[in-house]
C-alpha cells in the first residue's frame, strides 16, 4: 500500500481548500468514485473484516469461538503492548525533534542565501529519501558492525572501543539515526519550500524596523511556516507509531535487542504471522489506530490554536 502516506489527521482544517459549490453533486461523486471504490477495497474492507475478527478467538485446539470484547479487554491490559507503545513514544519524543530541528536549521541556512553551492546542498541532502527503507536499513546495519563495519573501522583507526550500536541500550537510538537519515532531507525541503513563499512585504516591514537576522527568523520566518511545522509533527507521530521496517530488518542483526513486540506495528505483525493470533492482532491494531488518531488530533488542535 505504499502510497498510503497518511494525510494529516485533520489536515483539511489546517488549510481549508477553497471550495466552490458549483456543480451537480452526481458529477462530484463520479470523479471521486474511482478513488473511493479502490479505497474501500484495500482499506475499508480489511478494517471491517478486522473489526469482525476482533470479536473472535481462534485456537489451534478448539477452533473459532465468539468472545465479544474479550480481546479488547486483553489488549488494554497487555503489558507487551503498552511497553511497545512506550518505546515508540520515547522514540517520538527524541527522534522527531532532532530530525525536524536539523531539517529546519538546514532549511533556514539554505533560505538565508549565505551558502556556497546551495542547489548542490539541497539535492544531496534530499537524496537519501530515494533509498528504500529496506535498503537503507541494510546499509546502516552493515555500517553498525563493531567488528567489520564502519564502527569497527573507526575503532581500529583510533584505537577506540565504541559501544555496540546494536546493543539493547542503544538500538533505539540506532533506529532513530536511520530514520533521521532517511527523512531529514525531505523535511528540509518542505520547510525550505514553505520559507520560499513568505510574502515579501513581511521582510520589507522588518527591514524598516531594522530587525537582525535572528529577529527575522523568530519574528517572521518561524511563524510563517507554523503550519508546515505542525503538520510535520503530526505526521511524525503517525510515522513513529507505525515504525516497522527499520526494526524488522535490524532484528536479524540484533535479535536479542529487538524483541518481536518492539513496536506496536511489529507486535501486531508477530501476533499475526508467527503466533497465528490473527484475531488478537486485529484487536491490537484497531486499538492502536484509535490511539494514534486521538493523539494526532490533539496535537493538531493545540498546534493550530497557538498558531492562530
Amino acid at each position: 500500500m505504499t502510497t498510503l502516506h497518511p494525510p494529516a489527521a485533520a489536515a483539511p482544517q489546517l488549510a481549508p481548500p477553497p471550495t466552490r459549490r458549483d456543480r451537480r453533486s452526481w458529477a462530484g461523486w463520479g470523479f471521486l468514485a474511482p478513488f473511493v471504490i479502490v479505497f474501500a477495497l484495500v482499506f475499508l474492507a480489511p478494517i471491517a473484516y478486522s473489526l469482525y475478527l476482533s470479536l473472535f478467538r481462534d485456537r489451534l485446539i478448539g477452533g473459532t469461538t465468539f468472545v465479544g470484547l474479550d480481546n479488547y479487554t486483553a489488549a488494554l491490559q497487555d503489558e507487551n503492548f503498552w511497553a511497545s507503545l512506550g518505546r515508540v513514544s520515547l522514540f517520538l519524543c527524541v527522534q522527531v525533534p532532532v530530525m525536524l530541528g536539523i531539517a529546519l536549521l538546514v532549511a533556514l541556512a539554505l533560505d538565508s542565501g549565505r551558502l556556497y553551492g546551495k542547489s548542490f546542498f539541497r539535492i544531496s541532502i534530499f537524496l537519501p529519501y530515494a533509498v528504500p527503507a529496506v535498503v537503507a536499513t541494510l546499509m546502516w546495519g552493515f555500517m553498525y558492525g563493531t567488528r567489520f563495519g564502519l564502527v569497527g573501522d573507526i575503532d581500529d583507526a583510533f584505537g577506540l572501543s565504541l559501544p555496540d550500536p546494536l546493543s539493547p541500550g542503544l538500538v533505539l537510538a540506532s533506529i532513530g539515526n536511520i530514520v533521521t537519515w532517511e527523512f531529514v532531507g525531505y523535511n528540509m525541503l518542505i520547510f525550505y519550500s514553505a520559507l520560499r513563499v513568505i510574502p515579501q512585504s513581511l521582510y520589507e516591514a522588518a527591514e524598516i524596523d531594522g530587525a537582525g537576522q535572528i529577529r527575522v527568523i523568530t519574528a517572521i520566518k518561524l511563524p510563517a511556516i507554523r503550519g508546515a511545522l505542525v503538520i510535520a509533527t503530526i505526521f511524525s507521530i503517525i510515522g513513529s507509531f507505525q515504525l516497522f521496517n527499520e526494526p524488522s530488518v535490524l532484528q536479524k542483526l540484533a535479535p536479542n535487542a529487538i524483541t518481536t513486540d518492539y513496536t506496536p506495528n511489529f507486535y501486531t505483525y508477530s501476533l499475526s504471522f508467527s503466533g497465528q493470533q490473527q484475531n488478537y492482532s486485529a484487536t491490537v491494531a484497531l486499538v492502536m489506530g484509535v490511539i494514534t488518531m486521538v493523539i494526532a488530533y490533539v496535537v493538531q488542535l493545540r498546534g493550530m490554536r497557538k498558531g492562530a
Binding site: L4, R20, G28, F121, M139, R196, N265, T268
Partner: protein
C-alpha cells in the same frame, strides 16, 4: 499494509506538509530583492556540510561496496576500495545471475510503477478535482474516513487483505501489488488543495456555458492547469511504489512477479539457507542499481517538482 509507510515515519509527515505551503501561493512572494544579495558565509557552509556528509557517507559506502567481490567484501574495510575493482563484473553478474531474473524484477517494478503510481496519480487528480470543485453530500466525511483508515497499523490488515485478494483470485498476480498502490491519500489531499487554487471557477463555468460535458471540461480545461501538481504527486507515488516491500511480500510468491525490493531480499536471505550461496556483493550492487533510476528521476525532473513546490511564489 501501511507498513511501507511505517518506516516512512517522518516522510509521511513531510509529504503532507506541502499542500500547506501551497496555500500561500496566491500571495505574492518574489524573492526579496530588498535584502540585496546576502554575503556568502564560509562558516555556515561548513556547518551545513556536516549534514551533507551525514547524508552522503552511507551512499558512498554503497557505491564503494558495489565495486567489491564477495571475497573483497570480507577482507576490506567498508569505506575504502578493495584491490580489485569489480563494479562492472558485479553489474554483469547481477543482470545474469539466476538466468537474468534481475532484469525481470526490474521490468516488474517498472510495470508496478507505471500502472500503480500512474493510476494512483490519476485517481488522486480525479478525486482532488471533485473535492475542490463540486459540492456534494459526504464530501467532508470522505477525508476524515481516509485519515482514520490510515492510522490503523497496516501489518495487522495484511492477512485480511490477503484472504480477500485470494478469494478474488488476485494473489500472485501483478494486480495484488498494483491495486493497493492505487491509493495515495497524500496525493488526494495535495490535488484537492492544488485544484482549488489553480482552477478558476469562472473558467469551468465558461466551458460549461459553451455546452461542454463534465468529462470534457475536466480533460480540456482543468487537467492542463493541474500539470505542476501532477508531476509532484507522481514523483511521490513513484517513490512509494518503487520502494514497496511489505505488500508484495505477502501477496506474491512467484519470483517471476517479484519487484526489485523483494528479489534483493530473497538474494539476501539465500545466504542463510543450507546449501545456499551468499551473494552479498550482488545484493549491494542490486541495491545500488535499484536506487539509481529514482535518483536520476529526481535529478532530471528537479526543475518541475521544484517549480511545483515553489508554484506559489511565481503566481501573483
Amino acid at each position: 499494509m501501511t507498513v511501507t509507510t511505517t518506516g516512512a515515519s517522518s516522510g509521511t509527515a513531510t509529504r503532507r506538509t506541502r499542500p500547506v505551503k501551497a496555500v500561500p501561493r496566491l500571495r505574492s512572494a518574489r524573492r526579496r530583492p530588498a535584502a540585496g544579495r546576502p554575503r556568502r558565509s564560509v562558516l555556515l557552509t561548513v556547518l551545513t556540510s556536516l549534514v551533507l556528509l551525514y547524508s552522503l557517507v552511507p551512499l558512498l559506502w554503497l557505491v564503494i561496496s558495489a565495486t567489491k567481490t564477495q571475497e573483497g567484501l570480507s577482507r576490506s574495510s567498508g569505506l575504502w576500495f578493495d584491490g580489485d575493482f569489480a563494479l562492472w563484473g558485479n553489474i554483469t553478474e547481477t543482470f545474469t545471475y539466476h538466468d537474468g531474473v534481475f532484469t525481470r524484477w526490474l521490468l516488474n517494478t517498472v510495470l508496478y510503477v507505471v500502472v500503480g503510481a500512474g493510476g494512483a496519480t490519476f485517481l488522486a487528480v480525479l478525486g482532488g478535482y471533485a473535492l475542490a470543485k463540486f459540492a456534494f453530500p459526504g464530501r467532508r466525511a470522505v477525508f476524515a474516513v481516509v485519515i482514520g483508515a490510515v492510522a490503523v497499523p497496516g501489518t495487522a490488515l495484511a492477512v485480511p487483505t490477503f484472504l480477500m485478494f485470494s478469494n478474488l483470485g488476485l494473489t500472485n498476480t501483478p494486480w495484488a501489488v498494483i491495486i493497493p498502490s492505487l491509493i495515495s491519500p497524500f496525493g488526494l489531499y495535495l490535488m484537492w488543495v492544488f485544484a482549488g487554487e489553480a482552477i478558476p471557477a469562472e473558467l469551468l463555468e465558461a466551458a460549461r456555458m459553451d455546452g461542454a460535458s463534465e468529462i470534457r471540461v475536466f480533460f480540456q480545461v482543468a487537467l492542463p492547469l493541474l500539470a505542476p501538481g501532477i508531476v509532484t504527486v507522481s514523483l511521490f507515488t513513484m517513490v512509494a511504489t518503487w520502494n514497496n516491500y511489505f505488500l508484495p511480500l505477502i501477496m506474491i510468491k512467484d519470483p517471476d512477479w517479484y519487484p526489485l525490493t523483494l528479489g534483493l531480499n530473497s538474494w539476501n536471505a539465500q545466504a542463510a539457507t543450507a546449501g545456499g550461496q551468499p551473494v552479498f556483493n550482488l545484493v549491494i550492487t542490486g541495491s545500488l542499481i535499484t536506487i539509481v533510476p529514482l535518483i536520476a528521476a529526481f535529478l532530471l525532473l528537479q526543475k518541475y517538482w521544484q517549480s511545483g513546490l515553489a508554484a506559489g511564489s511565481v503566481k501573483e
